[in-house]
């Protein structure tokens, strides 16, 4: 485990996926965030490295999205610090930061009638124009299975189609750190799988991918590590098998579950009982 830990975070066995490289590209030290007296996040510490796919899970309001916003640079931690490649996000220039990390947020309502292709092309904005742009955009359209929709007006898309479009845009940004906030929420079964497979590939290519998920089985299937948040704190961090225990899930989610082994992959399968 490459993570330098502060606070009582359980450290469980090694990740079962590819070994992350030893230098973390993303570090969180005792980070907290308070707004209008509400403590959304408190004393969170972890690191993540290139090559890792890390799931952030937890009940509603546990602080996952706040954590993601701190990492994205949308919010500045009120205590502790967050760094990407050693530098706090708000100290980067917007453009340099956009080359380093890409973000897929939950809300992506469109006010104007761009085409799907135009929206995806905007992912290239932080980069200087190059001959490869068309290729990168075309590949992203294929990866997100929206090549057929390329000339569609984005305001006419369904929620899932729009989410896939925004995911494709995140891909074209070609950033080393990829932050995805509930990317699978509006997607159908197939596209959830496709998206997570692509996220897995991104990590295998050497990127650092953090993804907020509600589906614990999906997190277990694809991610190297799972960070479970509870009431603004990091309740557990480690390999899916060690974090996703029935006791811990019941404790954090107040819901009885059974954890089975996936019949094909053997990964944990979390089902409510």
């Amino acid at each position: 485990m490459s993570a330098r830990q502060h606070g009582p975070v359980p450290q469980d066995g090694p990740p079962s996926g590819p070994r992350p490289s030893p230098t973390p590209c993303l570090e969180v030290h005792g980070a907290g965030f308070t707004i209008d007296g509400a403590r959304l996040l408190e004393d969170v510490s972890f690191t993540a490295s290139p090559g890792e796919l890390v799931a952030m899970v937890g009940p509603n309001g546990a602080g996952k999205s706040t954590m993601l916003a701190l990492l994205a640079g949308d919010l500045v931690p009120t205590t502790g610090e967050v760094t990407l490649a050693g530098i706090a996000p708000h100290r980067w220039t917007a453009k340099a930061l956009a080359r380093e990390r890409s973000v897929m947020t939950q809300q992506h309502g469109q006010a104007f009638s761009f085409t799907v292709r135009e929206l995806v092309e905007m992912g290239r904005a932080p980069h200087d124009a190059s001959d490869e742009d068309d290729e990168i955009v075309a590949a992203a359209l294929v990866d997100a299975e929206i090549a057929d929709l390329a000339e569609r007006d984005v305001t006419t898309l369904s929620g899932g189609e729009l989410a896939r479009t925004v995911f494709a845009r995140t891909l074209t940004q070609s950033a080393a750190i990829v932050l995805l906030d509930e990317p699978t929420a509006p997607l159908d079964l197939r596209h959830q799988e496709l998206l997570m497979q692509r996220a897995r590939e991104l990590a295998d290519e050497g990127r650092c991918v953090l993804v907020v998920l509600h589906d614990l089985s999906l997190a277990a299937r694809f991610c190297d590590r799972v960070a479970m948040f509870s009431a603004g704190r990091l309740a557990a961090l480690g390999a899916p098998e060690s974090v996703l225990t029935p006791e811990r899930i019941e404790d954090v989610y107040r819901q009885k579950v059974a954890v089975l082994a996936h019949p094909v992959t053997g990964r944990p399968l979390v089902v409510p009982v």
């Binding site: 009638s113 135009e118 904005a125 305001t155």
Partner: protein, 351 residues
Amino acid sequence: MKRALTERTRRVPLGAALPVVAVVLAIAIVVAIGSGPIELTPRTVLAVAGHEILGLGPGAGPLETTVVMDLRMPRVLFGALTGAALAVSGAALQSLFRNPLADPGIIGVSAGASTGAVGAIVMLPPITGALVAWVVPASAFVGGLLATALIYALARPSAGTGTARLLLVGIAVGAAFSAATGFFTFAADDDELESVVFWQMGSLGSISWLRLAIVTLPVLLGLGLLMSLARRLDLLTLGERQAKHLGLDVNSTRRLVIVITALLTGATVAFTGTIGFIGLVVPHIVRLLCGPGHRALLPVSAVLGALLIVVADTLSRVVAPPAEVPIGLFTALMGAPFFLALVMRSRAVQL
């Protein structure tokens, strides 16, 4: 798959749209210069313009020359500049606020300019007309910029919810300025009232070469600057957070857009009075034709805005000669039905 193909977005490419509207604008300018109490044929207008500006051809009689060069040309060109400034400002502000109802009024510049102009008309002692003719535009310009500056200072937009704050503060400050304008209007005597009403409905009647010369360079510069921001404006339409994720410095872009649009609108409106509807309607028409990408939206809006004002001004001069009907009536009269037709035709309008 079928649905994808049938709903393919149809667009007129910039390379086709811009030349067409530009040619129509050129024709409209020639016709506009020829129209009025003294009718001139396009041939005469071109002969005068060719002789006086390029030194070519025999020109025309002294009356025609005076009418074209001194009376109508500066006015028509000023109208074209004003239309371009208002339409491009409207397009940029709609994208900044992600709100199709935005127009240059949203940053308070119109309300401030009104207060400045009406305040000057009412408060100035009865002095010579020549001085008034300059004090009112100056006061309007200052009023417009003051209102925008006040809104910006109060809203102190920063990352996150900056634009929403700006919108709300803009509404509040705009209302305060409108109240001040109302107070001045209430306090006005009959003569002043006439000027007030006339200013508020807009007119290109007071334009001279000197006035055209004053605004030309700043307006062209402002238009060029906004067009150079096309890519950034595209990103802004995604929302502040997303734009920032894609590497846009949202705060500086927002500041730039507001300063430029306030100057563009303030400079032109100061001399013409409030001309409504152009900044609201023209960008919508162009979006439906060419799509929302600013690389096409801004230049085509500029030319179409210019065209709309040139036509409206021509109508304002010819419907009831020798009286001039305020131009604002025509921009609304022409814009509203066209806009309405577009809205009724499009499947869904999202606010």
